[in-house]
Amino acid sequence: MNLVFKALSDPTRRQILHLLRKKPMTAGDLAKHFSLAKPTLSAHFAILREADLIEGSKSGTVITYMLRVSVLEEALLAFAETVGIGLPKRMPLKKAMEKAK
């Protein structure tokens, strides 16, 4: 459970999960939504995979990630998003995303 809390405490990782809720995406597609370096993003994927929140399937050189969250983990994700854990001044994720835009 510690791994899950660690994974959900970061806003970038929560945003990755938020994107994967809609459909499975490749690492490249996910990278388009962030202005982060590839190794940083790969580290985020590794943490999410370690916590068993996402699953990656490799076909050739492309890795497609799919959401694998339990009901409790989804509730924790919604809670972390609402409270805005890990954001400066406890800013909710939606507000932070609007501000970034």
Partner: protein
Amino acid sequence: MIDRKALWIFIAVFLAMTGAAIWQLSQLPDWRHMPLGGPGSHHTVSGLLLFASPASLLLFMVSPFIQWLALPQETLPSLRRWSGKWIVSTSVFMALCQAFSLTCSLGIASPSGLGIARGSSVMIGILFMIMGNIAPKTPLPPQRNSFELDSWNANRMFRFAGKLFVGLGLAFVLGGILLPLEYWESVFGSLMLTALAAGIWYGIKVRHERLLQ
């Protein structure tokens, strides 16, 4: 492969539960009449009830083993993670059930008929919540042909089913504690039917969306 640590936990719990059931059965003067409210109680059931929990635990193991035999090699890591959660949670749940029936038969706790009914409702609710919570993590085989439901849509259905089961479980727990007994049939019956209808509706929706893609 099935999670080895979880498998050892299952074996230990299963042996402990079976041993406790045999020991308790040997204490009874007549195995056909186990007093529910402790020695001397007139409310009796068959002593074989003590074996219900270990037998149920054994049945819960069927699912991981079938998946282990049926799923392809590439799905095994996710099967290992899922089986670990499934085996440990069902083992703990069944051990609690066994502990409850043992305390009743030993007379440590002597609940009334209403207490047993409410306790059973809460237990069913907890079981629903455990199953529903783990459902979205069920390992899925990769899509082999276009006739099969692809893993993403199957995952969506499992996630929806999981939420339904957790909701139903919560309703059973809260209803079991708060609702008067005479409302149970209508409330729980209508909730189950609604959940069934919602499950069928979501299945049709997913299938329809897939055909449109």
